[in-house]
């Protein structure tokens, strides 16, 4: 206890400028000067960050630091939250995400999301995965839909477990299976970026390991932004890591550097477990 408070006095709380290089040589999404407010409360303040092509970037930080809020900006899921205001500039391949002409439906088909709590539709496993392709008209025939469902479930590592129970309700699966089902549902529409909001927080280590393997495989095709509370997980799966603290982006860098040689005091305190 005493040691912690002594450390905190050493932290320079005014230094909230982002340490490290927030740009990426081959960016998929560029975010500049991003702020998110819920009513009067500021959740994210003036964040600049690039999401690279085919990279896995981990967003870490203590609870309430704004990393989920930032993540949800990337496919405008924040639009649905009452009283939420987003400012700043988001560009994906040069297109402004928050342009009034931007089609949100199209955006969300391109930028898929996996939520913290597994939330399969209360429908069959098959329909869960087939829903996205069906509404977007990705397959014209039943056979086409079946093929998408099969490949998506295979890529999510769930096919072998559920191939004989495709008509069972998705909610009857275990937590880890449900989360992989949600991943399969997200990748079934063939997104270009996948956002993951603490996808393993409700899972046991085995299920977590499967999801992490999956992230590795998916990173060959997609850009992945993952929010996580587990620093080991961030270290295992990501190429770059961004550390958020109370709404500020404190430090960005290659994952091994952030974890081995954190430059900012706050980052160091967090990853060494002094607070968070």
């Amino acid at each position: 206890m005493n040691q912690g408070s002594a450390d905190k006095t050493r932290v320079d709380r005014t230094a909230r400028k982002t340490v490290g290089d927030f740009t990426h040589p081959d960016p998929r999404i560029t975010c500049r000067n991003v702020s998110v407010h819920y009513g009067d409360k500021c959740a994210v303040r003036n964040v600049d960050l690039d999401i690279g092509r085919n990279e896995v970037i981990a967003l870490i930080g203590p609870s309430g630091c704004g990393k989920s809020s930032f993540l949800r900006c990337l496919n405008r899921m924040n639009d649905t939250i009452e009283g939420c205001r987003v400012s700043g500039e988001f560009r994906m391949d040069g297109n402004d995400l928050y342009d009034p002409d931007m089609d949100v439906v199209l955006l969300r088909a391109q930028v898929g999301i996996v939520f913290q709590k597994p939330n399969p539709f209360p429908k069959s496993i098959f329909d869960n995965v087939a829903y996205g392709p069906r509404i977007h008209g990705l397959a014209q025939t039943r056979a086409g839909v079946e093929e998408i469902v099969e490949t998506s479930l295979k890529r999510a590592g769930l096919w072998e477990e559920v191939k004989d129970y495709l008509n069972d309700p998705g909610t009857s699966l275990s937590g880890g299976q449900q989360q992989r089902l949600c991943v399969a549902r997200a990748i079934a529409v063939n997104p270009e970026v996948v956002l993951m909001d603490e996808p393993c927080s409700a899972l046991d280590p085995i299920a977590t390991a499967r999801i992490e393997e999956l992230i590795d495989e998916l990173s060959e095709l997609y850009s992945i932004v993952i929010v996580t509370h587990s620093m080991q997980q961030a270290a295992r799966v990501s190429e770059r890591t961004a550390y958020f603290h109370l709404g500020d982006l404190i430090e960005v860098g290659a994952t091994d550097e952030v974890f081995t040689k954190p430059q900012h005091k706050l980052t160091e305190d967090y990853i060494t477990g002094r607070f968070g």
């Binding site: 899921m77 649905t80 439906v105 996996v114 939330n119 539709f121 209360p122």
Partner: protein, 434 residues
Amino acid sequence: MNNRGGADMPVDTTQIIKRTLARRYRREARFRRMGLFAVVLGLAFLSLLLFSIVSKGYTAFWQTFVLMDVHLDAGVIDPEGTLDQEVMFAADYGGMIKASLRDTFPEVTQRREKRDLYRLVSSGAGFYLREEVLQNPDAIGKTIQIWVPADDDVDMLMKGHFDRDKPEEDRRIKDQQIAWVDRLVDQNRIELRFNTTFFTAGDSREPELAGIWAAVCGSFFTLVITLLLAFTMGVATAVYLEEFTPKNRWTDLIEVNINNLAAVPSIVYGLLGLAVFINFFGLPRSVPLVGGLVLALMTLPTIIIASRAALKSVPPSIRDAALGVGASKTEMVFHHVLPQAMPGMLTGTIIGMAQALGESAPLLMIGMVAFIADAPGGFTDPSTVLPVQIYLWADSPERAFVERTSAAIMILLAFLFSMNGLAVLLRKRFERRW
């Protein structure tokens, strides 16, 4: 186990908790007993109500019939032998019934006595005879045996509702008539038979000819209109308000108004129906169409409130999931939220429909209280509804309408139960799909 607090906490916490436990359990037991008492009391009142209705009403499902030998006089029914339906329809069948009665009791000669004799059978007995003749024209010229309904006073006598020991002037049936009935009983010419008339006929001034069918039809047509309008509009309103409108002062105002409308006395809706639908739009009175419109207005707030509650209870994670794979807002609502909310919406709808089924006050205002003997054939035929029919019968002086009132209440309850059963089935179906 003890003294974790050391010197400054000398009392064992376990002891403290144990001391409070007895009191806490007592409180729980008391609450349980109160709950049980409330349930038992409720059930007692319910069974009392059902018992009183059934015990009063079950006799209405039987009706006293008299067996008569009727000579079908060809000269009266079909004088020209053409078998023309119209001629046969217009013949004096009542006269033949009377002639038959005179033959059965040849000692009756005086005018007044004859009149009392004729009162043994229903004034509608002729219609039964006509029906028989029109179906079997071959019988014309012969003497046939036919069961015709007895008069309601005879019916009451047979069912034991009249006290024979009372002085003659205090009862509706005379000593002489009782003697005749007893003679018919001795001859096995009188018996209680199942009362099909009650289920197939419309209202009548004569209890033995009155039936519930017209009111059932009226209620059915009215409720069809109510259901179609109130359910579609209610669900659409709820979905729009809950899912699509921004939350602001106007939607708050609308919400407050809807909640207030749910509490408006139903007769006010009747006045509105009278002023708007009948006087302004010129729709006919006493018809299921207007009744259904009025009841739809009355039920709408109930359905909207229940539907909004059902929509609110759909977990936001489902909405996020749908939006997350790129569903538009409308797709999200219709593919995921609405099916999830449907069981709750159906529950609300059924409550509203049950309310509408039992409602009579607003229908009185739009003229559905009129005496209507024929079953309506559509939405624009004059008709009455079950609760109004019950009210009308309860208001009638004849003793025989007492049991028919209770019987009609049973029919109303059966109608209600079957509606509820249907809703439960539907709800199960919707729930099983997930």
